[in-house]
């Protein structure tokens, strides 16, 4: 009888330990499944975002040629090298094409604004109104970025005198 009692007690203790251990394993297994499911949801969301990013990147790659052209256009619009002689040559070219006479070009100080360098430009031309419109077209739609700040047109005895105040830009290195 005494032997049975102690054996029973040992078996009961072993049973309780086994139950507790197996219970722990089962609970941790369930927790692991829940954590895995959560991770799966997160991965699915991340994959969706990556798919969208990839789609955008593929579109950008498809338009790489256009981007390259735009980049080159902007580099010509806003050159990195400050060259006043190029500006004079360009304006003279526009004046010739528009059949106006370029009377003068004066350059102002170069100032820095945000990431660009700005330079004021005062130009005088003489010619007819239609020639002036052509000149304006060439200046505004030319390769270089020119911001026309003001225009003054006076009617003189030798036709129109056109004064244009403008701004040209350079890349700040």
């Amino acid at each position: 009888m005494n032997i049975n009692k102690s054996t029973g007690a040992v078996i009961l203790v072993i049973f309780l330990l086994c139950t507790a251990f197996l219970g722990y394993l089962i609970l941790s297994g369930i927790t692991e499944i829940q954590a895995l499911n959560k991770q799966i949801e997160e991965r699915k969301q991340a994959i969706l975002i990556k798919q969208r990013t990839l789609e955008q990147l593929r579109k950008i790659k498809e338009n790489a040629g256009i981007l390259e052209d735009t980049y080159n256009t902007i580099n010509v619009m806003i050159p990195a090298v400050i060259s006043t002689e190029n500006i004079v040559a360009e304006m003279q070219n526009y004046a010739n094409k528009a059949s106006v006479t370029m009377l003068s070009v004066n350059f102002g100080q170069i100032t820095q604004s945000t990431d660009l360098l700005e330079m004021t430009l005062n130009m005088s031309f003489s010619g007819s109104y239609n020639s002036f419109l052509n000149l304006l077209y060439y200046i505004l739609h030319g390769e270089r970025l020119v911001k026309v700040n003001g225009i003054q047109i006076e009617n003189g005895s030798d036709g129109l005198t056109i004064n244009i105040t403008a701004m040209v830009y350079f890349q700040a290195n």
């Binding site: 139950t19 991340a46 806003i78 003001g150 003054q152 830009y169």
Partner: protein, 193 residues
């Protein structure tokens, strides 16, 4: 006549037998419980392999996407650089009016008998204003010009500043023309991003 069953076994023996029986039943019950727990654990482990495999597949998929994204990253950087330069250009000169359209509109609306002698532009933060001086054969011609200018989309307002007859019998005048705020010169064609 009924029989009377009388156990001749000792009381202690009977108690011991009952207790052994109980012990055996308890042991079997405990074994069954342990068995069920082991079975449940095995099921849980098997079930956990399904999300584990799915996660592995998703991780591989992500790695493939990451590799492709990294290989295309240079295009994104280039696009950002171009976008930044476009923004710089637009910030610098994006607010200038479409001068050409405005000057064309002025010349298109000028009636017969009116001569412009001077056009000056004034810029303010809100709008661009043209001061136009000239000569006209009479007041009606000036009024007709202002009437022509007002409905034009290029201008927000047109007002006569002054007018008077000179000794040479011509009407000198000055009008102020306010350019419409939407007449902005488009610098760069939009790049599809």
């Amino acid at each position: 006549m009924g029989h009377l069953n009388i156990s001749l076994l000792p009381y202690e023996y009977k108690k011991q037998k009952q207790s052994r029986r109980k012990f055996e039943i308890c042991t079997v019950a405990m074994c069954i419980i342990i068995g069920m727990l082991i079975f449940t654990y095995i099921i849980v482990r098997i079930l956990s392999t399904i999300p584990m495999a799915e996660l592995k597949v998703l991780n591989n998929e992500m790695e493939i996407y990451d590799t492709e994204i990294n290989s295309l990253k240079k295009y994104q950087d280039f696009s950002n650089q171009v976008g930044k330069m476009i923004t710089l250009a637009e910030n610098a000169a994006g607010d200038q009016p479409d001068w050409l359209k405005l000057f064309i509109a002025i010349s298109e609306t000028t009636p017969e008998g009116l001569q412009i002698t001077e056009i000056m532009t004034e810029n303010s933060e809100q709008n661009h204003v043209f001061s136009i001086r000239g000569n006209a054969v009479n007041y009606e011609t000036i009024v007709l010009w202002i009437k022509n200018l007002k409905p034009r989309d290029e201008f927000a307002d047109a007002n006569l500043q002054f007018s008077h007859i000179t000794p040479m019998d011509v009407v000198e005048f000055e009008i102020k023309l306010v350019a419409d705020g939407d007449m902005i010169l488009k610098l760069i064609q939009e790049v599809e991003q």
